[in-house]
Amino acid sequence: MNDLSASTHSRHIDLDNTDQAIIALLRADGRMAYRAIARELDIAENTVRARVRRMEESNTMRVVAVTDTEAAGFGMLLAIGVQVEGRSPEVVAREMAAIPEVFSVNVVVGAQDIEILVLSKNQAALSELISGTLGAISGVRRLTPALALDVLKNQPDWVPFHAA
C-alpha cells in the first residue's frame, strides 16, 4: 500500500463555522464541486478553495476514496485483543501497525493492552496472519480474536493521520 504518512510540518488550525460547513458537505459528497459548495454556503468559490487547501495543508482534513473491504477482496474482519508481556505495548503496537492487513491499532487500558482491527481474504490467510505474523511478534503473549459476522455501521470519519 502506498505511503500516506502525514508531513511533519502539520500545525494546528482553528476551524470556524464556515470550515465546519465545508467539511459537512464534503463528508456527504467528497466530489462536490467548489462552485456548488460556494453556492450552497453563499460564499465565493475562491474562499472555498482557500479553506479546503488550508485544511488539507495543515493535515486537519483530507478528502479520500474509502474502498469497501469486500470489494477489495477481504471477506473477514476481526477485532483482536492483544496482551503484551516483557515489552512496551507502544512498541508492539507500532510493529503491528506496519502490517497492511492490520488497519486499526489502539493502545488501550484494561484486560487487553492493544486492540487491533484486521482484514483477511480467507481462512488460510487468517491462520497465517494470526499464528505466523501477529503471534510471532516479540512481546505478544496472547491474542483474543472476535470475528465480525455482520458490520452494521462503519464510518471512519475521525482517524489519526500519522498512519504507519
Partner: protein, 154 residues
C-alpha cells in the same frame, strides 16, 4: 457478495485514495484513458457502494479525544441483530458489528475521557432494550487507522 474491483477500477481508486479532489481529467491523463471512462467508473463504483468519497478529519486536531471499544452482551442471543440495529442509529457510534467471540456486539466511539465514556455507556447504551451488559476499553494512544478501508453499509 459485492463484485470485486477490476484492475482499471483499482488504478483509479489508488489515485483517489490519496486525494479524491483530483480531477477526472488528471486521472485520465495519468492512466491513458478518456475522461469519460474515469467519470463513468467512479460513478458506477459509488452507486454500487464499492467506494465512498468522503472527507475524513484528523483526530489529533480534536482536544482530549480517545477511542473507546464497547463490548455488549445481549439478554437473549435472538435479540442480537435487533439490538445492533438500534445501536447503529446512535450518531456517536462510528462502528457497530455483530461479533462471534468475546461478546455479542462491538461498538466503537470517540470520547473525551473515562468519565465521559462511563456517562455515554450509562445513558445511551445500557438503556437500549435487550442490552444485558456492556464493558468498555478506553484507548490511550490511537496509533493507526487506515481510512482507505471500511465496510460501506450506508
Amino acid at each position: 457478495m459485492r463484485r470485486k474491483l477490476d484492475a482499471a477500477d483499482l488504478a483509479i481508486v489508488e489515485r483517489l485514495s490519496r486525494d479524491a479532489r483530483v480531477s477526472n481529467r488528471d486521472i485520465a491523463e495519468r492512466l491513458g484513458v478518456t475522461e469519460g471512462t474515469v467519470r463513468a467508473r467512479v460513478k458506477r463504483m459509488e452507486e454500487e457502494k464499492l467506494i465512498r468519497i468522503t472527507a475524513v478529519t484528523n483526530i489529533d486536531r480534536f482536544k482530549d479525544a480517545a477511542l473507546a471499544y464497547i463490548w455488549i452482551e445481549v439478554e437473549r442471543s435472538g435479540q442480537t441483530k435487533a439490538v445492533a440495529e438500534q445501536l447503529a442509529d446512535i450518531t456517536e457510534l462510528g462502528f457497530v458489528g455483530v461479533m462471534l467471540g468475546r461478546s455479542d456486539i462491538l461498538a466503537i466511539t470517540m470520547v473525551r475521557n473515562a468519565e465521559h465514556l462511563a456517562e455515554f455507556v450509562h445513558q445511551r447504551i445500557s438503556v437500549v432494550a435487550g442490552v444485558r451488559s456492556a464493558h468498555s476499553t478506553l484507548g490511550v494512544n490511537f496509533i493507526k487507522h487506515d481510512y482507505r478501508m471500511a465496510r460501506i453499509v450506508s
